[in-house]
Symmetry: C2
Subunit: 311 residues, 2 copies
């Protein structure tokens, strides 16, 4: 394994430290200063060389994308041999087509921007629906989409054995189905109709919720509207409990309060986005992926694709 340095950011110091420890690698922080004019100043730590792994999720992304650009270009100009981005939560993956004429397909544009900046990009469960492979939109040397599904399955076996898993929308079917089948859970998938950023209606599937411990499982929770609507209906149909388990806990504004008010009990997420609900560290999984990249093991085998098919 070549000399790896994991570079974190002040707002993502703990997950990046965990990645550094899991890799047995040096960890250092990039300094970020915001001037009064809202420009960012980026200062790299001293003595960087070899394989640099920038670790930062890209929720609330615009400032972070510009800061990553400054950091990555500066590291490249200083002679770093390999630049890897580990962004457990990747941004702009939802706009994969022009839903209306004239809309910029941000998924492809931001994917290309990241591919121009980094040799390798590693993420976890990006919100890919109409495209099959991450490297279709993120043409880096290696673009790896890992899946946290096995981690979530193990967590559920331990904490809610016998749960009924519910995916909140059709897009979650394949993903919730895979967890349910590999770990022996019942599952169903709701039908969601969205009429605005915060307006959704949810229709439960034809599964009997009564006296069941329901867990709503999704790749991400943002406003929480969908999850809250689904939970209220489960409880109305006699569910014993409703918990929430997500990979990416964005939880905007009063999302957690809304979830509580709808009767949801426990809320769990990975540490993809640091939050009071983050109980599942991704470090071991991310470290294994960095190590495989670093050892060049993917040269013969398209890891990005294989990971994608696991989902």
């Amino acid at each position: 394994m070549s000399a790896i340095t994991v570079l974190g950011f002040p707002d993502y110091a703990e997950p990046s430290q965990r990645l550094g420890s899991a890799l047995g690698a040096r960890h250092a922080l990039v300094d970020v200063h915001r001037f009064p004019d809202e420009e960012s100043r980026i200062t790299l730590p001293p003595a960087l060389a070899g394989h640099l792994v920038f670790c930062r999720s890209l929720d609330r992304p615009n400032d972070k994308l510009i800061e990553l650009l400054l950091a990555a270009r500066s590291a490249r100009d200083s002679g770093a041999a390999t630049l890897t981005l580990v962004a457990p939560y990747l941004c702009y993956m939802r706009q994969d087509i022009a839903f209306h004429p004239g809309e910029a397909v941000s998924q492809r544009i931001i994917g290309r921007m990241l591919a121009d900046m980094f040799d390798n990009v590693i993420t976890v469960d990006p919100h890919l629906h109409r495209i099959a492979r991450l490297d279709d939109v993120l043409p880096a040397r290696n673009a790896l989409a890992l899946s946290a599904a096995p981690l979530l399955g193990d967590f559920l076996c331990e904490h809610v054995p016998g749960a009924l898993l519910l995916g909140p929308d059709a897009e979650s079917r394949q993903w919730v189905g895979a967890i349910a089948e590999s770990h022996g859970f019942d599952f169903g998938v709701c039908i969601k109709v969205r009429s605005g950023d915060r307006n959704v209606t949810v229709e439960l599937p034809a599964v009997d919720c009564s006296r069941r411990n329901v867990v709503l499982v999704d790749d991400m929770a943002s406003t929480g509207c969908t999850l809250a609507a689904a939970a209220a209906q489960c409880l109305a149909r006699g569910a014993k409990s409703v918990d929430v388990l997500v990979v990416h806990g964005l939880f905007f504004g009063d999302a957690v309060d809304q979830l509580r008010q709808s009767g949801i009990g426990r809320i769990w997420s990975t540490d993809s986005i640091p939050h009071s609900t983050s109980v599942m560290p991704l470090a071991a999984m991310l470290a294994a992926a960095v190590r495989r990249l670093d050892e060049g093991a993917m040269a013969a085998r398209p890891i990005g694709n294989a990971e994608q098919e696991d989902r």
Copy 2:
């Protein structure tokens, strides 16, 4: 002249409309939507072709840079022949060297980003100090740095004839000196020592302020600390009045209140950044530059450089 469309943004609609009118060109707005997760959705207006001129200043820049990237790439993919950015206020022009080891030289990195997005970039009085030419850091086909100095000189002749012009720091010498000499004003330059984002001390030059109408002239006003400190000293030395004239009125937070409290009377700026103080429209000057670019007149003559030397 080819078919030009000027594209404005909702937060920059008036200056871009003025540019469209000055050019006699079609004007349309790019739609910008911010999702709850703080990602931006960009929608271009219909039927775009030919020469597209995006018009938006880049103060508070990070969101705007990402939105410009989405808009420009999308326009390019839709087949626009030529993309020009008119950004009267350009961002990230102040970090032109690493002041401390490890600092990213954002001027060059953002310059290259903009050059990758646009064929031409037009700006007004960018904050260039240690480099001579805009196209050294912004390697677009054409990178034009126009100077608002003649406009400011004319404005001063009309509104404060006989004024004593003061530049707030050594960096403003060349620029304030040029206005003073071309328009027949007395002038001096202060010495500024900065010890933090909002901590500055200012030493007045050896010029007699007493009973003079002083105008503090600068390329930009951000926190207003420097201008307020200079004004207080001018008044203490018996100045009859102190006004402020800047190209780029960023005026963060309570900057205008601070200026008023220091005894400053009138505050004027161009419409580079829309503000209650914006009294000097740049549209005619910007339109002339777009027209010259569009006619390809600059092919034989390096306009960028010539403009720079006018400063």
